[in-house]
Each structure stands twice: as C-alpha cells, then as structure tokens.
C-alpha cells in the first residue's frame, strides 16, 4: 500500500500527463465493425434468430479508453487551464451543444430551463448566469473539473476531447444567459 502511494506521488510529480493515443491499436474484445463508417457497433437481437444483427452506434467511441483488460491507454491527469478572453462564444450554438445527447449533453445531469427529461446528478443551471462566477472558473469546470473537485462525476469535456475550445466557449456563453 505504502509503495503504491509513493509510486503515485512520484508519478504525479515527475511524469508528464499521458495523452490519449491517436492510433490506439484497439483491444481484441471491443465491439467494432471496421466496415462501418461509425466503427462502434452494438448487438441488436432480432426476433427468432440465433444470429446478431450488428448496428452502428450514433457516435464513434473508439478513441476513448474501454473496460478491456487489454486496453493499455491512459487518460490525461487533471490539468489546470488558463482562460484567455474575450469569450467570443455563440450562446445559441451553446444551447444546442448543452442539450444535444451527441454533443455536450449537459442536460443529462443538469436541469436546464426549457429542456425536457433533465437530470438531477448535478446542480440545476437555472440562474447560473446571475451568480457572477468568474469566466476562468467556468472554463476550468468545463475543460477539466477534476482540478477543482478531484472526486467529481462531471466529465472533463476539454481534457477528454469531448468539446473543442470553441464549443466550450459557446456553452459558456449559453449558460451565461441563464438568469
């Protein structure tokens, strides 16, 4: 136990955060269909058949780490980022990103005024824009909230390549309109 902790400490001090591999060399037990445009597949059990109909998922997930024992990729360690203004975000695009399941999908966890089937895993975003949170804080929260809350369930949207820099700014512009 002590050795593990020491190793972790040494690693956090001396090694650079590992990056997601561009060419991961996928594990053998992942469910992909290389002939699909979207490689991520899922098994549809068509009725009265002993065979599986493979269907494409709505989004290619192969760039992210899996539960396979063969998957030796890592994820970036929590990363502090510096916000540089001006914001230059498009609030309308931000709403689309925040409420779309294939994009930010913030709505899965947060209540967002005007959106249906919201979640309660994270705090409501109603009135968030009126709270006067510094842009640097909001930017860090969306890019990589683990820096501020190490145990948070909120995904690191920037650090894990879910949202681009511009998309993060669009979402920031949108939640700033929630007053």
């Amino acid at each position: 136990m002590r050795k593990t902790l020491l190793c972790a400490l040494a690693a956090s001090i001396l090694t650079a955060p590992p990056m997601l591999s561009a060419d991961p060399g996928l594990p053998a037990d992942v469910l992909v269909n290389p002939s699909f445009e979207v490689k991520t597949a899922w098994p549809y059990p068509k009725q009265n058949s002993g065979e599986i109909e493979w269907r494409a998922h709505g989004r290619d997930l192969t760039q992210w780490i899996t539960l396979s024992y063969e998957d030796k990729r890592g994820i970036p360690q929590p990363t502090a980022v510096t916000f540089q203004g001006p914001l230059n975000g498009n609030a309308e695009r931000g709403r689309e990103i925040a409420t779309n399941v294939r994009q930010g999908n913030c709505v899965a966890c947060h209540t967002i005024p005007g959106a249906n089937q919201t979640g309660s895993a994270g705090p409501s975003l109603a009135g968030y824009g009126a709270k006067g949170m510094p842009e640097s804080y909001v930017y860090q929260m969306i890019h990589d909230p683990r820096v501020l809350f190490p145990e948070t369930v909120m995904p690191p949207f920037g650090a894990l390549n879910n949202l681009t820099e511009q998309e993060i700014r669009d979402v920031m512009a949108f939640i700033n309109t929630l007053r």
């Binding site: 190793c7 040494a10 991520t40 597949a41 997930l61 539960l67 024992y69 894990l160």
Partner: protein
C-alpha cells in the same frame, strides 16, 4: 534556507528512487481513475441484504411491493424496478413470447437423450436450479468462467447450431432455463478459487472510470444512486441479476451482457463483445450481490 534545500534534495532523490523502483509498474499502469465504493466497501461473501442504498426491505418480497411506493415519482427507485417482475407484474409481454420460443428451441436441441441439458450441467436432464446456483461458474473443460448464455452458445455449436451469445434465440433459451429456477434464491460461492478471483476483478472493473465521460458503472449505481440521469432514476446494483434476460419495453429481448453494451454506450464508452472477460467478471460480481435473491422470469424493463 539550508534545511529547505535539504528537504528539496531529499524530495527529488526520494522521488527518483520511487520512480526507479516503480518504473516498470508505472509503465504497465497508465493513469486511470476509480469511482468510490459504497461506504464500508463490499463483503468478501456478499448477500443481497447488504444493499448499500438500504432500499432492500422495499423490494425484498416482489409479491408484497407497496403499490403506493411503486406509483410514487420520488420513491419508485427504492423498489429497484421489481414491479416489472413476476409475480407483481403478471401481464403478457414479449418476455412470455421469448419463454415460449426458448421452450421450442430447447426441445429441439435436447432431443430424447437430454443431450442439451446435460451439456448445460444438468446431469439428470432436470433444469431446476441451474440458473440459480450453477452459473456463472468455472468450467474446467473450457478453462474459464462461463455464464449461462456462453454455455448455451457452446452447447448449441456442438450440435452445429448457431445461438450467438446476445442473439434473441440464445436469450430466449436462457429465459426458458431460468424459468426452472423461478422462486429459487441465487447462490454462488465467491469466497474461493476462480470465482473469488473473478469477483474481485469484476468489482475492480465496476468501479473503473472509462470512456469519453470518464464514468464507471459505480458512478451511476453508487455515487449517483437515487438521482436522475436524463429523466431516469438510478437504482442499486444489489439484487439486479435475478431477472435476466429481460424484455425491454422498446421491444428488445436483452441478455445481461447486451445490457452492458447499452450501459457502456449510454455512458460514452466503447462497448465490448458479449462474453468478454470484463463483462463475465462484472456478472460474477453482480451475481454475488444478488446472493439469496430469488430468480424471476419472464420479466420486463423500460
């Protein structure tokens, strides 16, 4: 000043030593994160009553669920969806059609010599208790831990039939086999041997954060249990394997591993193939957390 330099030197030397000592281990272990386990962790000999959400009393007896609790928007999650299991729900649904299909397939494959039942582990041809007490187990002939659906695929293949793990017919047959354990408490022993190892691996995989959202199974079923994600209330993972395969009301008969592929996709993780080792291990882990909870099929879930 001098003492600060000394401390710094010690830190650098110490860190260097640690890296030298652990260098190979670090290279093998890229950075990953874990979702916290329930308070107090898991027993090495789990029982369904150890449910971390303390909701077990509300779903312990499926026949005696409180209808008011079932109808309550705020409290429904505390019934752990058992209101869609028989006998509380005895309405006709796609799970019953699957059961009929499974019976037909079984009769065909079993012949007059009980060859299919014997291959599944019922030496006398009697399927009673097979689902509740025999699966998953370490199969010495195959040299690995197998679940019921993997053995259905294996035993069908021995007769030249294709019943792919995750296919409708495989799951239908699994529902049929499980129906012979209806009302029987699940009991697997994870305190020793290969199942103990699989249980421990499954526990680790269940709490390992993964995918584009950096979420673990445990993120939803431990950290966020009782909360809502996209309108759906998250429930305990104790007592959950007793009703599989199940009929999903979106009209899809799902085995447990097919459900895992959906869980993974919902959480933004590239799914694995049905029968993949991490899925088998998670199934062993979850089965142990259902110890002493009775099997109930055919079931349905939204």
């Amino acid at each position: 000043m001098r003492s600060r330099i000394t401390r710094l030197t010690t830190l650098i030397l110490g860190s260097g030593l640690a890296v030298a000592l652990c260098g190979s281990a670090l290279a093998d272990q890229p950075y990953r994160q874990y979702a916290p386990k329930p308070e107090g962790g898991y027993s090495s000999n789990p029982h369904v009553s150890q449910d971390h959400t303390k909701t077990y009393p509300h779903w312990k007896d499926r026949a005696a669920l409180d209808p008011e609790r079932v109808a309550s928007e705020a409290l429904q999650w505390t019934t752990n969806w058992k209101f869609m299991d028989p006998p509380f729900d005895d309405s006709l649904h796609g799970g019953h059609l699957a059961l009929d299909r499974g019976a037909e397939l079984f009769a065909e494959l079993n012949g007059s010599d009980n060859r299919f039942a014997r291959c599944l582990g019922a030496s006398d041809g009697n399927l009673k208790g097979l689902r509740a007490n025999h699966y998953p187990h370490f199969n010495t002939e195959l040299g690995k831990v197998v679940n019921l659906e993997m053995m259905i695929e294996h035993c069908a293949a021995q007769q030249g039939a294709t019943l792919a793990h995750g296919s409708y017919d495989n799951s239908a047959l699994s529902v049929y086999v499980a129906s012979h354990s209806n009302g029987m408490p699940i009991r697997i022993d994870v305190t020793q041997g290969e199942l103990k190892a699989a249980f421990e691996r499954g526990q680790e995989r269940f709490h390992l954060r993964t995918g584009r959202m950096n979420m673990a199974c445990g993120t939803c079923h431990v950290t966020l249990v009782g909360e809502r994600l996209r309108g759906q209330a998250l429930t305990t993972h104790y007592g959950d394997v007793a009703h599989w395969p199940t009929y999903r009301t979106k009209d899809e008969l799902q085995s447990l591993h097919v459900r895992f592929t959906e869980c993974n996709r919902n959480g933004g993780t590239q799914p694995l193939k049905p029968g993949a080792q991490p899925y088998v291990d998670i199934e062993v882990f979850l089965t142990a957390l259902s110890n002493d909870y009775p099997v109930a099929v055919p079931s349905a879930r939204d």
